[in-house]
């Protein structure tokens, strides 16, 4: 494991919103390095001109009609909410900006 592996793990943890303590970060960084080493076999293969295969279904143009259907009642929607505030989901107060 190098420091750059550790930095990478810390950056990824930040992006993925996973709080890691120092020991965890080190453990994952070590595994990262080994796992990515195994995966470098992918680099050996020439792939120019090959189309990426994103989904195996091979379907196209699946759409539905623009007709409303009843969904969840407010009760049902909020039933599992960890902090329900009447008809809303409650979360820690934010000033108001994404990410």
């Amino acid at each position: 494991m190098t420091t750059s592996d550790l930095d990478t793990v810390r950056q990824m943890a930040e992006l993925a919103r996973l709080k890691l303590d120092e020991a965890e970060a080190r453990a994952y960084a070590g595994q990262f390095a080994r796992i990515l080493e195994h995966f470098r076999t992918l680099e050996r293969l020439p792939v120019e001109g090959v189309e990426p295969l994103s989904g195996a279904a091979g379907l196209c143009d699946v759409t539905r009609a623009d007709a409303p259907r009843p969904g969840l009642s407010t009760e049902a929607a909020l039933a599992n909410a960890p902090d329900r505030r009447e008809a809303f989901y409650g979360v820690p107060k934010t000033i108001g900006a994404a990410e």
Partner: protein
């Protein structure tokens, strides 16, 4: 409503240094598609609904839920592309755009990244400048986070999943006026094509502005993004203060004031822009193709069918009104601004065979009456007046059966509750009186005790008679033929 006129030179001359600064402006406009349901689920779309009453497993991101594309949303998006002259891509795909926020339930937004459904296109401004569109893509809206109610932030997911198109222009605009004209034209076209109502108060049209300034002739400089522009007025004001801020920043000589690449919010109360409280690190959205949705392909036959469904757009209509119907440019602009008004006008013009008179009645009376709270009729859709009725009213005035004042009264009744113009003239007692004997009687009565006026008229000031028109009209209950009254008054005075 007059068409905007653009100042000839967009350069802003600094009073401090005399340097000519050129603003460079691009717009990102989010527009809500006028569908009944959301983009990827069958929940209804309804602006005023109580919180969290329009959700389902899909738009609340329950484990195991999956998106299904709304076919109507795709159609409206394609119509927008055709109306704006874009090239529709034969295939496009959806991508996941990842970030964490409380109004984004899945932790990613389904959007389109590297293969949007259309590219190119744009709009011609009145000063001859063509503002190019880079692309338009479809994406789902986020929910709403409310920060000013209590000690927690409250999340309402009614809006999560509502269908949007995001259109991005090239940085082709150089002034607030150009930007506002672009937005006005964009809104008009999208409404005409039935894509969206674009009601900014309901958040159906949202605009972010990218803006930089540079000295004329020099390379472009740092771009700043402005958000929270909730009306065209705000857009105009925000651009103005931001341009000034950036110029000042560069000219100040203080390194801390030099503009940096960032996102700023417009504060309408202070009329300033301020830095948004957000991280400095660039967003890493980790885009990848949405595996739960197949690709979208659009056949040429579909494009042709949609193209034929798009109504004649405002600019073309305006030109036709001027060239074929002989209207003044100003009137053409007013009449073509809203599709319902334009279509009403065209029908009335066709039925009356008097386009200019139909235009006058609509611009001077019908549209003005929409603003009359007492009448309570606010739009073409709400009024009972039909094009045939207006055509008949025009004919009645031309025949002399009713004078203009009387016709105005009839029009109000027609707009409010409908009816037949000819009948209403009778029932309201507005039939124009052209019987010379009766008119003479009223005129004689009005002349009593008006020796001064008689003397003035005989001395050559015929306009002094205008003072008598009012009393005669009043005596006649507004039904006297004003032209005949004027002739008779003159004859009586001159003949003694």
């Amino acid at each position: 409503m007059s068409p905007l006129t653009i100042a000839p030179s967009p350069a802003v001359v600094s009073p401090r240094t005399g340097v000519r600064w050129v603003p460079v402006i691009g717009l990102e406009v989010h527009c809500q598609l006028a569908t009944r349901t959301k983009l990827f689920c069958a929940c209804a779309v309804d602006f005023g609904a109580p919180p969290n009453t329009l959700t389902c497993p899909v738009c609340t991101a329950q484990p195991g839920a999956l998106p299904v594309l709304n076919g109507e949303a795709l159609e409206l998006a394609l119509r927008a592309a055709l109306a704006l002259g874009c090239a529709v891509q034969p295939t496009s795909k959806f991508d996941r755009k990842h970030y964490f926020y409380c109004d984004l339930p899945k932790g990613y937004q389904i959007s389109q990244y590297d293969r949007p459904y259309c590219t190119g296109g744009g709009l011609l401004l009145s000063n001859g400048k063509f503002v190019r569109l880079t692309r338009i893509h479809m994406e789902e809206d986020a929910g709403k986070a409310i920060h000013d109610r209590g000690d927690a932030t409250l999340v309402d997911l009614n809006r999560a999943g509502v269908p949007l198109i995001e259109s991005v222009t090239e940085a082709d605009m150089a002034s607030a006026a150009e930007a506002v004209e672009y937005l006005t034209a964009l809104k008009e076209i999208l409404r005409y094509a039935g894509v969206s109502e674009c009601d900014m108060e309901k958040g159906e049209l949202r605009c972010d502005v990218n803006i930089s300034v540079h000295p004329e002739g020099e390379p472009w400089r740092t771009k700043v993004e402005l958000k929270n522009l909730n009306s065209f007025r705000f857009v105009e004001a925000a651009i103005g203060v931001e341009v000034a801020r950036q110029i000042e920043g560069y000219e100040s000589g203080d390194a801390r004031l030099v503009p940096v690449q960032e996102t700023r919010l417009y504060d309408p109360e202070r009329n300033t822009t301020r830095t948004m409280r957000s991280k400095e690190s660039a967003h890493d959205y980790r885009y990848f193709a949405e595996p739960d949705l197949p690709a979208v392909s659009v056949a040429p036959s579909v494009i042709e069918r949609l193209r034929s469904c798009i109504p004649e757009l405002p600019a073309a209509r305006r030109a036709r009104y001027v060239s074929a119907l002989g209207l003044a440019a100003q009137d053409a602009a007013v009449l073509s601004a809203e599709r319902a008004v334009a279509e009403f006008f065209e029908a009335a013009a066709r039925l009356s065979e008097k386009p200019k008179e139909a235009a006058n009645w609509i611009t001077n009376d019908v549209l003005r009456n929409f603003g009359d709270a007492e009448l309570g009729v606010r739009s073409v859709d709400e009024m009972a007046l039909r094009p045939y009725d207006l055509a008949e009213l025009i004919r009645l005035v031309d025949e002399g059966a009713v004078n203009v004042a009387g016709a105005r009264k009839v029009l109000r009744v027609l707009m409010k509750s409908g009816g037949r113009a000819r009948e209403l003239v009778k029932t309201l007692g507005l039939a124009q009186v052209q019987d010379t004997a009766q008119l003479e009687a009223w005129c004689r009565a009005a002349l009593v005790g008006k020796e001064k006026i008689v003397a003035d008229v005989r001395a050559g000031k015929t306009q002094a008679l205008n003072a008598l028109l009012g009393p005669v009209m009043k005596a006649s209950g507004g039904t006297a033929d004003p032209k005949l009254v004027q002739e008779i008054l003159l004859k009586l005075v001159q003949n003694g």
